[in-house]
């Protein structure tokens, strides 16, 4: 619940030591890296640039927080967490690159990962774009299909009779189980991937839509009918908008599943994409690349989630103030 997130930190007047401590933690991470030489020679500039940039950004925000109360609250709230991140970075750097205690190649240091990401940025970017394209096609078609299926099942008795059992039985099968089928039937690994992501997002969206339609208050339909609406108008102007919150619940569930299916499908037989990249890097025991790809995934998928949340907020603007969000 939102009102709990601030805890004891947010909104407190006066001086909080945590923001300067967080900046200090990143300064230590940077200083430690500069002062202590690595076990094996490596280009440390990209890592230093990154840590230095983060420290500068935090310092900038901290400076701004003296003028803007909103920024102050946010900076103070996040400061403890960032202080911990800075210390963790320092410890990780010391134990890996600087002391060589973590076994290689499986546990590289942050320096190695950042350097590999810089050196291989073209391939990483290409893979990211491939993954995003596959995700977009599969997720969009699966979601649209899911909404249509859900509406048909929720709306029509005939469709409900024939389609609902299929949805219930086929939907719970993990999409990746269809990989052999997809590879045998479809001409390319790309289409196989689209197919798998589509069916894995189809199920939760269809189910949520069906349930959403089933739980609409009858009085809305009655009101619409007494106002002269026919079935088609009711579907478009009552059933679908009333179900929109449920549809988005299904979409949220589908997003996580789709990310998983996306990576697995790319690991099997694809020629590009982040999943392929990880598999390929693993083949060369280039674990720094594996971690770099994972870091990119974390960033990109977070961005996709943020985008979906933004769309959801726009579509469900009418709900603001009604729900606990």
């Amino acid at each position: 619940m939102r009102h709990e997130t601030g805890g004891d930190v947010r909104g407190k007047k006066g001086f909080s030591p945590w923001p300067p401590l967080a900046i200090l933690a990143f300064a230590f991470a940077l200083g430690g890296n500069i002062l202590i030489p690595p076990v094996r020679a490596i280009n440390e500039t990209p890592y230093r640039t990154l840590v230095g940039f983060i420290a500068l950004y935090m310092a900038g925000r901290y400076g701004l927080s003296f003028f803007r109360p909103g920024v102050k609250a946010a900076v103070e709230f996040k400061a403890r967490f960032f202080a911990a991140v800075g210390i963790a970075l320092l410890a990780w750097d010391m134990l890996s690159t600087k002391a060589g205690i973590f076994p290689l190649p499986f546990f590289p240091g942050p320096v190695q990962i950042v350097e590999v990401a810089r050196a291989d940025w073209r391939e990483l970017l290409r893979s990211t774009l491939y993954s995003l394209r596959l995700f977009a096609y599969g997720f969009a078609s699966g979601t649209v299909l899911g909404v249509v299926t859900g509406i048909l099942i929720g709306w029509s008795r005939q469709w409900n009779y024939w389609l609902f059992p299929v949805l219930k039985v086929c939907g719970i099968v993990p999409a990746v189980a269809w990989i052999p089928f997809g590879m045998a039937v479809f001409p390319s690994s790309f289409i196989t991937g689209v197919f798998m992501i589509a069916i894995c997002s189809w199920f939760p969206v269809a189910l949520a839509t069906t349930n959403g339609i089933a739980s609409i208050q009858i009085s809305y339909f009655e009101a619409a009918r007494t106002l002269g609406a026919d079935d088609r108008f009711i579907l478009r102007h009552v059933a679908i908008p009333a179900t929109a919150p449920s549809i988005f619940t299904g979409v949220s569930a589908a997003t996580g599943l789709s990310f998983c299916t996306l990576i697995v499908s790319e690991m099997v037989g694809a020629e590009a994409g982040l999943g392929w990249y990880i598999n390929w890097a693993k083949g060369w025991s280039a674990y720094s690349k594996v971690y770099a790809a994972i870091a990119v995934m974390a960033l990109v998928f977070s961005a996709v989630l943020a985008l979906l949340n933004f769309v959801r907020g726009k579509v469900l603007a009418w709900q603001s103030g009604l729900t606990n969000e």
Binding site: S219, Y220, E222, A223, A224, R225, T226
Partner: protein, 275 residues
């Protein structure tokens, strides 16, 4: 039982618009624990003239809402006939506007969109789009066009609901305790609004209520219903001049008369009036 539906075809009286003939409605999924089926309505007859303001009053379970839903076409009887302007009721129609106890506005639409819903549903929005602002003003909702239903008060929502039904210019307005959930000040406010609209549109109104004062204050005729089985026990003419006063002798007299009928009918009056 007495036959309250006898229509005297005097030339002065406006024509009958709604006829309920010997209607019976039984529910099997009973809420009463002891009974397998409940006769929500048994052999009910009622005629309503054009422009009349009729109240259906009685304790809960007397079938007043069931009767209203049958007239609206939201429900169908097991036996009997329902006629509107001589035509049998086969389903809902925009010509019979219905206002629910809860405002029942669509929460995903703004006040303006809610009020325009009927016009859009019937495909006449372009033609009558100018009406929307007029009905918003009439409902006293100017400035709230872009508000969502949860952002306005209960009284405002109920006025929006009225406007939403009225914009279709229905021949009859069916009101299912639309003021039941409002506080007494808002309720009196809405009663005045309702009278104003009724006169302006020369509408036919059937109002379901359990508030005797409300029925006596608003109606031309008060239909008293009794439960188990749901029946019309008495119809009282409340033909005293308007504008009315809640403290006039005639008002008090009618109010007592209605109360008395409840006791004579052997049923309990609604709780708040039980002596």
């Amino acid at each position: 039982m007495s036959s309250p539906s006898i229509v005297i075809n005097s030339p002065a009286a406006p024509p009958v618009i709604i006829e309920v003939k010997n209607v019976t409605r039984v529910f099997w999924d009973a809420r009463e624990k002891s009974e397998k089926s409940v006769s929500a309505l048994e052999n009910v007859d009622l005629s309503v003239r054009k422009g009349e303001f009729v109240s259906l009053i009685g304790p809960s379970g007397c079938g007043k809402t069931t009767l209203l839903r049958l007239i609206a076409g939201l429900d169908a009887p097991q036996s009997g006939e329902l006629l509107v302007e001589g035509e049998p009721v086969t389903g809902t129609s925009h010509e019979r506007g219905y206002v629910f106890q809860q405002a029942n506005l669509f929460p995903w639409e703004t006040v303006e969109e809610n009020i325009a819903f009927g016009l859009k549903a019937r495909g006449v929005y372009e033609e009558y789009r100018g009406d929307v602002a007029e009905y918003i003003a009439m409902a006293g909702l100017k400035g709230f066009e872009r508000s969502y239903p949860h952002q306005i008060s209960g009284g405002m929502a109920q006025r929006a609901s009225l406007a939403r039904a009225l914009i279709n210019r229905p021949k009859a307005l069916l009101l299912d305790e639309p003021m039941g959930a409002l506080d007494s000040f808002t309720r009196m406010d809405l009663q005045e609004k309702l009278l104003e609209l009724w006169q302006k549109f020369s509408a036919t109104i059937i109002l379901v209520t359990h508030d005797i004062d409300e029925a006596v204050y608003l109606s031309d005729r008060i239909v008293i219903m009794t439960p188990r089985p749901g029946r019309i026990s008495e119809i009282i003419d409340a033909d005293y001049p308007r504008p009315r006063s809640r403290s006039s002798a005639r008002f008090v007299e009618l109010r007592n008369k209605v109360l008395e009928k409840f006791h004579l009918a052997g049923a309990e009056a609604p709780v708040e009036y039980a002596i």
